[in-house]
Symmetry: C2
Subunit: 238 residues, 2 copies
Amino acid sequence: MFKPVKNTKVYEHIIEQIQNMIADGTLKQGDKLPSERDLAESLKVSRASVREALRALEIIGITEVRQGEGNFIKTSFDNCLFEPLSVVFMLNKGKAEDILELRSILEIETVALAAARITEEELKELEELLLQLKETEDEGINAFLDKKFHYKIAQASKNFLIVNILNVISSLMDTFIKEARGKILNCGDNTEVLMQQHEEIYLSIKNKNPKAASLAMSKHLQFVYDTLMKEKTPIERL
Amino acid sequence: MFKPVKNTKVYEHIIEQIQNMIADGTLKQGDKLPSERDLAESLKVSRASVREALRALEIIGITEVRQGEGNFIKTSFDNCLFEPLSVVFMLNKGKAEDILELRSILEIETVALAAARITEEELKELEELLLQLKETEDEGINAFLDKKFHYKIAQASKNFLIVNILNVISSLMDTFIKEARGKILNCGDNTEVLMQQHEEIYLSIKNKNPKAASLAMSKHLQFVYDTLMKEKTPIERL
C-alpha cells in the first residue's frame, strides 16, 4: 500500500529526521549535530532550509549554538524560552480554574511520591525555602519562593515527565501564583494561613508520610480555590 | 533598578514580542500577523531574523502560512508536528514507568471529571470507539483505537490544559500504548481482560459515577503496570 505523502515542506522533513535520530539514540545529549553543509547534502535540501530547521530547534530549546563550534544537543532543559503550551492556553483564553485543576491533579499525587522518594539534600533545600518564605516581607520575592517550593517537591517526586510539564507551563504558574497570592492576601490576614499550610506540607514530606502529604497539599489547594472563587462576582463564577 | 539584559539574540526578541501580544490579547486565534516587512520595521531588525522567528512559530504549531496571504495564528492546536516534551523525554532516556505514572495521575482524575461533565454526543463517540475496539482484529488499529478512547475521555473532562498536555506527549503515548498492548497480549489471552476493563470505564462514565470511573481506570492502569513489570527481568525491575 502507498503511504500518504504527509510532509510536503522541506523543513518538516529535516525536523522529522533529527527527531528520529534522537528517538533511535543516534543523537544524544551534548552531541554535535552535523554541519549545515553536511545536513544539506545528505538530506538533499538547500542550506537555507537546514538553517531554518536548526534555528527552530534552538528556539524550542532542544539545541544550542556554541560560537564557532556549531549546533549541539543541549544537556539541560530547565529553561525554555518558548512555551507552546502556555501560548496555546492564552490563545484559548484558558480559565484560571483549569490551571488550579491541573495543579490539584498533579501536585496531590506528586507530593505523595516526593514523601516516598525525597533525598536528605532535597529535604534541606525545601526547609531552606520555607525559612526564607517565613522571613521575607517582600511579596514579589515570596511569590517566587512559593513557586520554587512547589517545583522542588515535583523534582523530589523523581518523575521527569511531571517536572517537565511544570516547566513548560512555568510562565502560566508564575502569573497564577502571583495573582492567587495577591487575592488571598488581600482577603484578610492570610499570610499566617498560607505559611502554616506550606509548613504542614513540608512536615509530612519530612516524616515520609505520603498520605498526610497528599492531604496537606489537597487542603492547601482547596483553600486557594475557595478564596479565589469567593473573590469573584456571582457571574464570573459561572 | 536595572533589569538584567536577558535576550541578546534578535529572534528571541521577536518571539518574545509576539508572545506578549498573545498574552495581552492583541493577537487572537485566526488573526493575521503583520507582514515580514512591517515586523522588521517596527522591531528594527532584519527581515531575515523576522523570517526565522516566523518559521519557528510555524514549526512549533502556533501559526500557519496561507499561501499568498501571510502568517496567521492557528485556530486549532490538535496536531503539533514537533513535541518538545517527547524529544526531551527521549534525550533523557526517560523510563516507561514515568509515562505510566503520569498517565495514572492524570487519567484517574480526568476520568472522574469526564463522568461529571461528558456530553451525550461525546458519550456516543466513546461507545462507538468501544464497539470498533470489540470488532477489530487488527492489533495495529486496536492500539490506535485504544489511544483514541483515552483521549476522548480527556476531552470530555473539559480541562483544556490536560488535553493539551496529552497532545504534546502524543507520540510518547503512541509508542507506549503500542508496546504495552503488545506485551500484555503476548502474556496470555488478555484481549478479553483489556476489553472488559475499557467497558467498565465506559459504563461508569455513562452512569455519571465519578468514583466508579476513577476506580475502573485505576484498576486498568494497575493491570497494565503489573503485566509490564512481570515481563521484565528482576534486574530491569530495579
